[in-house]
Subunit: 340 residues, 2 copies
Amino acid sequence: MVTVPARRKRATIHDVAVEAGVSRGTVSRVVNDEPYVSAAARTAIEAAIEKVGYVPNNAARNLVMQRSQAVGFIVHEPHSLFLDDPNIGGILLGANTVLSRADYQMVSLVIDSQRDTDRVARYLSGGFVDGVIIVSARHEDPMIRVVEKLALPAAFVGHPPDLRRLPFVGIDNRRSARAITERLIGTGRSRIGMIAAALDRDSGADRLAGFTDALGSRFDPNLVERVPLYTYSDGAAGMRALLAREPGIDGVFAASDAVAAGALEALRDAGRSVPGDVGVVGFDDSTWALRTQPHLSTVHQPAFGLGAAAAECVLGQLRGEEQPAEGILLETPVVWRDSA
Amino acid sequence: MVTVPARRKRATIHDVAVEAGVSRGTVSRVVNDEPYVSAAARTAIEAAIEKVGYVPNNAARNLVMQRSQAVGFIVHEPHSLFLDDPNIGGILLGANTVLSRADYQMVSLVIDSQRDTDRVARYLSGGFVDGVIIVSARHEDPMIRVVEKLALPAAFVGHPPDLRRLPFVGIDNRRSARAITERLIGTGRSRIGMIAAALDRDSGADRLAGFTDALGSRFDPNLVERVPLYTYSDGAAGMRALLAREPGIDGVFAASDAVAAGALEALRDAGRSVPGDVGVVGFDDSTWALRTQPHLSTVHQPAFGLGAAAAECVLGQLRGEEQPAEGILLETPVVWRDSA
């Protein structure tokens, strides 16, 4: 049991009853908007509620109603990425905006460890949320089984291959990666490499596949550097590795804008000019893209729109509407700036 | 009531009872670890639970126990700042790490509008969290009254002037701002300005006060530009305004690293070198500080430590421990790099 310091005790229905000089049952009827309460008693109770600072316990009511009026927003990321990746913020804000408008409380839950996974699973099964939005789930993500088992209204942002029948919102990473790589090829570069990140996600694997598609017979596996995360520091490390292996590299597709920003630092340190010596393209069109020198040519990822669409999808399920059998894919235009 | 599609129906205690061929009461006794159940019935029920995929409703249990095993993390920020300010991420991760270790679920709630404020207040009063950490509360923040009224174990990160007896964790913004400004003065600059942000917060107002302290009789109010938020774009706008008013400016204290990064862009656009023509110092030592060219001289703000200390403070209250009457202030060393 939780002990609160005596000086800060929460007022109960009993305190209201004592203050108003009525029974607790009468207070309960007023609080729950039930009939058969005299006007005098109602007035006295309302004054007593104000005086003692009583707040009804909605958890009890919600339990009876079988709803919490809350939707979970689960981010499954190592902590460092949560800080580095501005997409997550955009997705979160898109979801919050739509849920807020529908008067749902969005509650964000961060998963960074096995302990977090187990605890979030317990939380979801505890009836604290009516539905859930899951960002950056991985292959065989335990959250997928949790959501299936609980029959919880859910929408995934991104598309792990074993998602089966659960709804998702995403982008076509493969087609988008192919498009930006083709554009980079079109600038006349001949030794084009890729810093491929997060290959345990659908997004990371699909971006590498799109890069491979675009280069076709010119694809050289030696020009792909694999790094764990979509981060600035992994981008810098990946670029250094590529430069060491192939000093003649003249084009780079970085798997995200943060990765591209790190690559720019490594190129600057190595004395290479961008886009003079090396053309660099990123992916996301996040806040990074306009804060590098030069500004990044990149693929626009509609982060806010993804969050908003995922929220609409969960709200639709909560209203009992049929969901589309296929996932929803949003558009991803190429945004061409100064880095290539 | 919430309707879920028929194909994904959550298993109930009734389903378990039917499958096991026992009464619902017997299932309930097994689920709640009560005695007086035969070994045969227990085995049958456990097999039935596994088969139908039943998950007990913890919300009901938690209600009886008067606890949710969850702590709210409230960020009271306009959405744009949530994306721009890496401190919030560090505070969030520090809090999550400590709460996770204590097996508490951290649930983040974003407040961006009056509607969000009202809804979060309802959520807190609903019994969904046992305590709350509140980041960047403002003067007369409605959350302060909500927390007082609910007698909710709470810790504030930062220190609005009307916080009274509620616990807080913070830094001495005024002393820190004074220290970095004195260091900037020590480099021989004579026309030093400030881009002051977020003056409706204790942090923003105190940083301006510390700047004023350090300059003493040399303080020139004409060299202070006030901007609304701790953001890159407000930093760029503030720097442009200072340059227009005082072309001879040779030192700038930016109220945060994001503000400093924006100021660097405006200085670059105006053809001023940093630190050659103008020395720039920031505040936070966030990820921004190492991603600008040149790297920022700044004040280290222990974001992770603030979150961790706030979480410890709430956990202490949940254990019924006495809290210190004063707030907790963490150290903020000056980190001197290349921008001044």
